[in-house]
Amino acid sequence: MNKILFWNEEKIGISLIKIVVVLLILFICTMILLLVHMSLPAIKVFGLSFITNSEWNPVEEVFGAWPFIYGTLVTSFLALLLATPFGVFSALFISDICPLRFKGILSTLVDLIASIPSIVFGMWGLFFLAPFVRDHLAPLLREIPLSGPLFSGPCFGISILSASMILAIMILPTISSLTREIFNAVPTTYKEAALAIGATNFEKIKLSLLRPSLVGIIGALGLALARAIGETMAVVMLIGNTPQVVLSLLAPGATMASILANEYAEASSTLHLASLCYIAVILFAITMIVNFLARILIRVLSPKW
């Protein structure tokens, strides 16, 4: 009797766990399929030319995603470009150079920033960063010779540049803490070996810290890029939400995430809603690919200690 009870309990428990797991997997798959299903009307009408068409006109029901894809790519790559040196070198400073007693304070500060909600970053950007860009940074950037159309036109503070800068600040802690983890994983013996053959601090860092963790750092940058691509609230508040493709970084623009946040709740026609869902599918696909590649770099290609 007891034995039967014992086996039943184990079987029931394990099958319950499995049922929950299967349901969870099915639920996630269903959601993705439903999203694709919602975007079908737009996929039927516009096809793949949706991606390259740059007109977005809800009144005449002509929809193209290029301005948003362009905006997303420009802001996130610019953010990555701005944040990478700061993220990587601050991680290097915290993990290897800084005196022990500042280590805790600095890493806490970086983690603290990572826990601030993006809406707060957006608000700070709107009230402090945008005026700063308008009054101080834009006039300075216009003076740069040979910058061409990159910094041309009027600047009202709300711009692609401001959005990229706030994104850079937001992904900086991500880059910094991921890179710190990678640095910490490098065996101490590597550093000791470098010091033992008479390397200076710089040579030690270059040979036994930066070089072995290069692949991992690129993976970390990939994860940060995925975060920047999907980031919504801060960008909505700073980019100006104007669907246009312009070279000037001082002009307003729009990203895939920002157009979703702005128009989704108000979309009235089926085609408009379907087009927004289509954009969501594209955004989802892009972040999935970037995340996947970054994970491969971190999990598979970086050295196992």
Binding site: E10, L24, I28, C29, P117, I119, I169, G230, T287, N291
Partner: protein
């Protein structure tokens, strides 16, 4: 030798400068939130609901209540599911379901939060034909689940295999080992992971924009639109009214305090555990 030494010094100087430059925006943000938030902060603000448009005063009590309710509800479904999935990933590593589950969770974790909002819109707002706090909580639970799974799995990985073997040797079934030895004995560590997940979710705005939507009245009706602190901050911050902008800053301060309290208590739980 001298050249190498100079190179070394220059490099150290360079890295230290970068670190200083990194700290500047970070410290500025903290300073501005504290000063701007505190200047408009009052008890009235967190105890009252908004007044009519154009009238000064009013508060954000409805948004604070809405946020707490939505997050509490979200954790109600997300925490059990997350812990079960975490247990599965760590205890049933050779199962055929492990790979699909891991892939699905990785996908969910990497999904931009605005797309998660659309997921919840598609599965709940469309069929129910109304924005609702319920849909908001489902959206947030989709963010909590992967985080809880991850922390649960990491914690269970740290538990020595001998502990499980000891349980099995005493004649425990595998489910009993999981429940009594893995979960009950390590509930504090598991709780820490959950609280950190909640702290992160508390500030999410994008998934709530078209699920919970927002409401300017105090309501506990889960089937209707519900206010939440982040969405309220968004609406107030982008409005032209000076009064509302000030309230948005104080709201941001309240939000950050809530987030920090959650993560701080998570750390306290861990330190209490260590003292024992």
């Amino acid at each position: 030798m001298l050249a190498r030494k100079i190179k070394n010094q220059l490099f150290l100087l360079f890295v230290s400068t970068i670190m200083l430059l990194t700290c500047i925006p970070l410290l500025l943000i903290i300073k501005h939130i504290l000063t701007m938030g505190a200047s408009a902060f009052s008890l009235e603000l967190i105890l009252n609901t908004p007044k009519a448009v154009g009238e000064l005063g009013g508060g954000i009590a409805h948004a604070i209540a809405g946020s707490l309710l939505i997050v509490a509800l979200a954790s109600l479904y997300a925490v059990p599911i997350g812990i079960i999935a975490g247990v599965f990933l760590s205890e049933f590593r050779n199962s055929k379901l492990t790979f699909p589950l891991r892939t699905a969770l990785d996908t969910l974790a990497g999904t931009p939060s605005i797309v998660i909002g659309i997921f919840a819109y598609v599965i709940l707002v469309v069929p129910l034909k109304s924005f609702s706090g319920l849909a908001g909580s489902v959206a947030l639970s989709l963010i909590i689940i992967p985080i809880v799974v991850k922390s649960t799995e990491e914690i269970l990985k740290l538990i020595p295999i001998t502990l499980r073997e000891a349980g099995l040797a005493l004649g425990f079934s595998r489910t009993k080992v999981i429940w009594h030895i893995l979960i009950k004995c390590h509930r504090q560590a598991l709780l820490t992971g959950v609280m950190l997940a909640l702290a992160r979710t508390m500030g999410e705005t994008a998934p709530l924009l078209f699920t919970a939507f927002g409401n300017s009245n105090f309501t506990l009706n889960l089937r209707g639109p519900m206010a939440s602190l982040p969405v309220q901050i968004f609406n107030y911050a982008s409005s032209p009214h000076k009064d509302w902008q000030e309230q948005a800053w104080s709201g941001a301060l309240v939000l950050i305090i809530l987030v920090f309290l959650l993560s701080l208590s998570a750390k306290l739980v861990i330190s209490v555990k260590l003292k024992k």
